[in-house]
Amino acid sequence: MDKSKKAGRNSSYVIMGLGQLLYGQVIKGLSYLAILILFIFYMVNTGISDITGLVTLGTVEGDAWLGVEGDNSVIMMLRGILTIMIVIAFILVYVSNVKDINYSYRELNKGHKLLGFRDGVSRYIDRKFYVLALFVPVIGVVIFNILPIVFMILISFTNYGGDIVPPKLVDWIGFDNFKKVLLLSEVKVTFVKILKWNLIWAVLSTAINYFGGILLALLLNKKCVRGKAFWRAFPILAYAVPGFITLLGFKFMFSYGGPINYYITQAGGNAVGFLDIDAGWTARIIGIMINAWISIPTSMLLATGMLSNINNELYEAASIDGATKWVQFIKITLPFVVFSTTPTLITSFVGNFNNFGVFYFLRGGLYLDGYFLASDTDLLINWLYNLSIDNNYYGIGAAVSLIIFIITSVISLTTYVNSQAFQKEDTYR
């Protein structure tokens, strides 16, 4: 008896599901077996060739004249990644099979009876509720977030883009794209220019939005203000209008026929191309101001929430000690607000660093001399869009996005680790 039990366990190590069948768990065993068969079928049919395709990126170049249907390197890469993910998923199923058979083996050895299929399932749903709950979200994130990101990381090491798009064959080229962006030629010049402006933009607009929001919240929070809800409604209105509408609206406002130029020409001046290709800093400053208009309400809402959380006893104690309002503000309100909003400061910095909308809607699609497919207001993220979506420079675009990722993650990690909120988590509790 003992020997047959052991044989059942071992057989499941070799052929998934067989042990469960031997133990009499028919439905479970058959499901495992079916997954195994499907997997083998898939691997033999396309899986193995997909994985070799990922390595070679295709060997036969298509030729419409000769009627040769060549390999599509990009699709091959995508399928290769997908296959690797399927293999990982299969390994996970295999591990669960091993765990299951070991569990059954131990139960049988203790002399317990195994649960029937239905009881087993409901027990599993109860005990492992988290697996069930996270199943769909995880699959979704893997296919539509992780797979694309892995794909783009791989693309950044190929010469995909420009002239080299299917049916031409794409090849691995190592770090050449990164060299181009960081060391060589026109691309590097553009990268350095854009990076400088991007940092200025991120610091300036984060500071303006952050302090603007806090000041607005403090102003609304003053005791003498009547009808707080009324005054608060206006920033909330600005917050609620979808961003692209605001941005397009402002674009119209600053356009040649727009109201601002109307008043300028009425006063005898010449119409100004605020957002024209040669606008330079005018366009940049307009962008910063419009971004403030859009973002200050958010940080105001945030600071308002924080202010309502301040422990009133602190103020009472300070008053008893004879602290003036101003001292109370400097010593209690400000540190508290700054402390509790530091984490959002990081997210808002990263958000501004990667703020795609503002300059896309205000001046999208302009290419300036001295820039490689970009203009002087474009941020890295806009450049990325120009490169990879408008102009098919996929390889360089992917390299740029990896560089953006490295910059933003280094910035957020260092600020986070050095921030007060991280070091003294319990100061204000």
């Binding site: 995880v138 979808p242 979506i389 957020s412």
Partner: protein
């Protein structure tokens, strides 16, 4: 006594300048919106016929055109598409986000920390870094020019933003769950009978935010929808030039009004949601 008298004028001055400042700020925030509303009632429609901020003549003409003149700009159709995508992704996203957040808050399992760290790292990649890949995947699955592809991408990405909701579930006391557990409730029962009834505000918040995003997103529909009659409103509006200004304004108002109304009705939840996310995020 003397002190009190001397302070009073100061307090009045303080009140006066505070309110003056508030009026200026309110105008700054309100005027551009008001301008768009006025523009939608312009008779001729082109921005060149405006007298500064104000249309030269007012009429309801633009609204009629918006819904009748569909040759170039098929607005009713765009609105229907937008509504379909927004409602579809709102339903699916809300379910997925709530499930994810609840699970991450309530259960402790081996993969929990790795999953949290992975989502953190993933969120640091530029948002449309993978767009090219998403586009190729959709081509491969033959889902280009299909509204469902938008719903799929929006809903699949939604669980990544579970932190605010997790922060909410973290505040629900564990003793409630333990009590239910002692009464013999299984985890699915606890979720449907204990957690869901307690999560009204956060459900509303989640539904609102996951409706608002597809409702006003531009990048993804621009990438995945190539047919003019499949466009969403956001894509359509960006194709309107200066001569179609009032049509743009009218179309924008139909998109903005539902969102603004929702935000105002729910502004209480909103402040709570924003600040919870900030503390716990």
């Amino acid at each position: 006594m003397i002190k009190k008298v001397s302070r009073r004028p100061k307090a009045i001055i303080d009140t006066v300048w505070t309110h003056a400042l508030l009026i200026v700020i309110s105008i700054i925030f309100f005027f551009p919106v008001l301008w768009l509303v006025m523009a939608s009632f312009s008779k001729t429609g082109s921005i060149y016929d405006f007298k500064g901020f104000f249309p030269s003549e007012y009429s309801l003409n633009t609204y009629k055109l918006l819904f009748s003149d569909t040759q170039m700009y098929d607005y009713p159709n765009w609105l229907a598409n937008t509504l379909f995508v927004a409602i579809g992704s709102c339903c699916i996203s809300t379910i997925l986000v709530i499930l994810t957040a609840y699970t991450m808050s309530r259960f402790r399992f081996r993969m929990r920390k790795p999953i949290m760290k992975t989502t953190l790292v993933l969120s640091m990649f530029p948002s449309f870094m993978g767009m090219t890949a998403v586009y190729l995947i959709m081509v491969n699955f033959n889902l280009i020019n299909n509204l469902w592809s938008l719903i799929l991408v929006y809903s699949a990405g939604a669980p990544m933003g579970y932190l605010v909701q997790k922060g909410y579930f973290d505040t629900i006391s564990n003793s409630i769950y333990e009590a239910a557990r002692i009464d013999g409730a299984t985890n699915p029962v606890i979720f449907t009978k204990v957690t869901l009834p307690l999560s009204g505000p956060i459900l509303v918040y989640t539904a609102l935010t996951s409706f608002a995003w597809p409702w006003s997103d531009f990048i993804l529909p621009n990438l995945l929808l190539k047919n003019r009659d499949l466009w969403t409103v956001a894509v359509g509006l960006t194709h309107m030039g200066e001569t179609e200004f009032s049509r743009f304004a009218a179309g924008a108002i139909f998109i903005a009004v539902p969102i603004v109304t929702l935000y105002f009705c729910l502004s209480k939840f909103l402040v709570a949601g924003v600040s919870d996310g900030a503390v716990k995020g």
